[in-house]
Amino acid sequence: MDWGWISANRGELISLAGNNLYLALIPVVLGLVISIPLGVLSVRWGWVYPPVLSATSVIYAIPSLALFIFLIPFTGIVTSTRDLTLIIPLTLYTLATLVPNVVDGLRSVPEPVRQSATAMGFGAMRRLARVELPIAVPVVMAGLRVATVASISLVSVGELIGNGGLGFLFTDGEQRDFPTEIYAGIGLIVILALAADALLVLLGWLLTPWRRSDPGASHSTREEAAA
């Protein structure tokens, strides 16, 4: 381990990490935006779900490099749209995790809750936004964590087409026979993944105040304490 090299190339490493994060998170956000309507449709019309699920799984099975190469004629590798060559496949990969989680999350809404929301005069959209999605947050968040970590590590494969964030350190370190660079790449990816995961846990905690049970609660739930 050559710590001097790491410290000397701090700026470059941070910039690569930033690029890696950008290339990883944009697909997760896009994937979520696509998964929510797909999940909603799958829950509302049950027959939609099996084909959607098969499609996302099949896409997930396609090797990333194959998808990159397939997209190069459309989005390029040196053009201004070259990030899309990476972002589009990574977005499609997140669907395999996010769609089932959105579906499970929406299905976790208890039927009496859904019914009472309707009976109180929520329209379908308002019910989705104010009742169903908030209740689905914990399950969706679990999928989001998996998708995010996977996406951060997958970005490095993009280095094979010259745009791979921290993946650069692997190819460069290998060519120069300089292991420190490779270790730095691995270390930074792990740090990014752990940090992103921790932030998502925090976000989930902030979004679900009802799941934080206070210690006094168990005593106050004694049957009809107030009766």
Partner: protein, 385 residues
Amino acid sequence: MIRFDHVTKRYPGSAVPAVNALDLEVPDGQTMVLVGPSGCGKTTSLRMINRMIDLTEGKIFVNDQDIQQADPAKLRRGIGYVIQHAGLFPHRTIEDNIGTVPVLIGWGKQKARRRAGELMELVGLDANMARRYPHQLSGGQQQRVGVARALAADPPVLLMDEPFSAVDPIVRAILQDELLRIQAELRKTVVFVTHDVEEAIKVGDRVAVFRPGGTLAQVDPPARLLAEPVDDYVADFLGFDRGIRRLSFFPASTLELDTDPLAPDRITVADARARAKESGQSWFLVIDTERLPRGWLPVAKLDDLPASSTLAEAPVEGGGHSFHSSTDSLRAALDATILSPSGQAAGVDDDGRVVGVTSYDELLAAIHVLTSGDGDTAGGESRSA
């Protein structure tokens, strides 16, 4: 007022209608209970009122508005709805759950929360629960929140779909009493579905008994239903002890209470013996200077006691079972009589002081007079069980 006008509901693929040409009127300010075995169409009928289920034929009017002409979401905001498992929003605090409809109709959060506070008081919830979440409450408390939430925007109509059937019997009885208290105050037009006849008779101003196949067997006030079931189906459905249950609708205040068996605990055994000889009592109810009952003393036991001792020193048996002489029913009086060692029961006032005593003979006479009269005299007025 809610009016069903020849309403039929057919589910696709089912030959038999779930509800068949139903005609029913629920007058303003009354509680109509729909009761019947499962699959009789009572819940379907309830849910057609707020269009949770759309009817196939016929018309339903809520306060003279044909509900088929109304926007479902708007219609529902004007109709309170309480369901079995409360269906509270797990992600919202109690006060925000209660304020749901007020916020939907644009009251603003502050006003909705103030209203939630009022309703929590009305349904008997402690104010410190406002910021809690539903999972931190017991089943009974959640059901109270459900009722508060349904009442939040002050809708004239309240639909209750087996609201208390998921809580234990003790809590259920408490919630039923609370509903009666709230209803006496607010006089909403309530439609209440249950499969429990006992509950129907307790909470209903009128009870609609459904037959399998979605038709009505009988619609009547509970006392009349118990007295005059139209046929064997209704009689069977009401259960074997409907005669006894019917006594719930006759007030105990019609009993003439006897004060002869009352013996103050300060008199001596000698005095008591003399009184027994004179009046022919076989039991005394020993009372203290406050007229609170101490217990029953068999006259035969007096012979074993020193003549100069007072009744305060005499061993007495269970004075616990009594009935309220002005608010309880004949059913409560009969129950107390059965449970008393002497075959007589003490009628007491608000403070538990003994007013007088009734016996099997007196009760039977009173029951005979009341039940051989007409069922109409006992309307929905006295319903203390």
